[in-house]
Amino acid sequence: MSWHRIRVVIRRHAYVLWRAPHRWFDIGFWPLMDIILWGSLGTYVARNTTGAHASTPYLIAGIMMFHILFQSQIAVGTGFLEETWSRNLLNVLTTPVTEFEYLAGTATFGLAKVAFALLTLSVTAFGFFRFDLGSIGWSIIPIALILTIVGWSAGIANIGIVLRFGQGAEILIWGSNFILMAFSGVFNPVDALPGALQPIARVLPSTHAFTALRTVLNGNPLPIGEIVAGVIGALVMLVACFSFTAWMLHVFRRRGFVTRFS
């Protein structure tokens, strides 16, 4: 593994972000809109429903933490897609960059995007709704760690699907976020989901992260059991998704799919 090549992958994607103003929507505009949407909804519910005063922090903290997963996922997913959009994939495949180095570079670049997005979210949440992300305390670190790994895993799996099924499958990169949002209990406990869907939610590591988040917001200590389950689940998911994509890359090379992208 070459750290130098990983740094160059990061630089390559930094150039793209710098020259593509519409990509700034991901880390500036959408976070702002999400805070306005969910913060306003929480405020409205709190005004009109007795006993629902805590809904705004739940919704805002939920969407803020979901953005960690979202940014991590799309940084990896669109990092790879950038090579397919500019038909640069064959150029990359004929350099010494390994699959792991490329993914490590895009995942690390994703951390920078997460930091920018969290800055936008924190400032707007505090400015509009007086919600302070710092009120969660150090508990935010293990929760964010789980969500980052889940985001990377989803992004890596999406790459595998695009390698296998072509660019038409890239819609999954965007769609998988909604699946994870719906099933992870971002704003609500798992038992609020329809009964038949709850088993799916319970196996997702992100569900444990959001359960831990709500526990902390309720003023309770960080539930270590949820964090341990979440970290283990996230690591298993990462290994599974990486293995899946490595296999899809093998299929991609065996069937000569590179010509689809060049």
């Binding site: 070459s2 130098h4 090549r5 740094r7 160059v8 630089r11 390559r12 150039y15 793209v16 020259r19 593509a20 950038e82 090579e83 959009w85 500019s86 038909r87 640069n88 064959l90 150029n91 990359v92 495949l93 004929t94 350099t95 010494p96 960059v97 390994t98 093998h250 090379r253 065996r254 069937r255 000569g256 590179v258 010509t259 060049s262």
Partner: protein, 248 residues
């Protein structure tokens, strides 16, 4: 096909079938250090599939590829440090300036002084004026030139070029050929090139491998192959093989 210790490329009995179509049927290729080899054949002969297998982008069904002693696919990364690849049909990364894109590739190839390598490579092909242009704003000819510069950034032991001058004006194509010859003679790089321009192949290469229907049908100097088929140059050989391929 005769192999020698130290060959930069040794491909042995490559076979590839896509669904029921046998694209490559037992092709063996060797390239010696500093040797310039042309890979020719009519459309559908298996040239691009063969090249992509040599580069590790497509896995052969059977057969082996070894580049500068590194066997693919296990040691692909090490092997690619010694290979430069460019194709006339390949674009460059969008939204990067030429200087930036070349710097990225230089970094991936392991070049430590990226700026100096990029400047020298641009100078070699006389396109320093393109350095600050966006890659997606280049004409197809300029893009091809930058692609060739990209392939030479790290002084590769083997330069693989697929139809490199297909979209270039004759004067620019001539400049590229001269630049490639100068690059190969000054660095000792071997060259494996595909082209539909027979005069280009005769000018650039010392040996020609003709493919037809996924097999090697001739492997010798351009003059010897032309003489074997009873022609004065490669053009006639190409036309005959293309005609035969169409009829089979």
């Amino acid at each position: 096909m005769e192999e020698h210790a130290g060959d930069v490329l040794v491909a042995h009995e490559l076979r590839k079938t896509f669904k029921k179509v046998e694209a490559v049927r037992g092709i063996s290729i060797t390239v010696a250090p500093g040797e310039r080899v042309g890979l020719l054949g009519p459309n559908g002969a298996g040239k691009t599939t063969t090249l992509l297998m040599l580069l590790g982008a497509i896995l052969p069904d059977t057969g082996t590829v070894t580049i500068v002693g590194h066997r693919l696919p296990r040691h692909r990364s090490k092997a690619m440090e010694r290979v430069g690849f460019a194709a006339g049909y390949l674009p460059l990364p969008d939204r990067l300036k030429v200087r930036e894109a070349l710097g990225v590739f230089a970094g991936w190839y392991g070049v430590r002084n990226e700026k100096a390598a990029v400047a020298a490579a641009l100078e070699r092909f006389e396109i320093t004026h393109l350095a600050d242009r966006l890659c997606n704003a280049l004409s197809s000819g300029q893009r091809t030139l930058v692609g060739i510069v990209k392939a030479t950034l790290h002084n590769p032991a083997l330069l693989v070029l697929d139809e490199p001058t297909a979209s270039l004006d004759p004067d620019v194509a001539l400049r590229v050929r001269q630049g490639l010859l100068q690059f190969c003679s000054s660095t000792g790089a071997a060259l494996l090139i595909t082209s539909h321009d027979m005069r280009e192949v005769e000018m650039l290469t010392e040996r020609v491998i003709f493919l037809a229907n996924g097999q090697v049908v001739a492997n010798d100097t351009a003059a010897a192959i032309a003489a074997t088929y009873g022609y004065d140059d490669l053009e006639g050989v190409f036309m005959q093989l293309a005609d035969e391929a169409r009829r089979t």
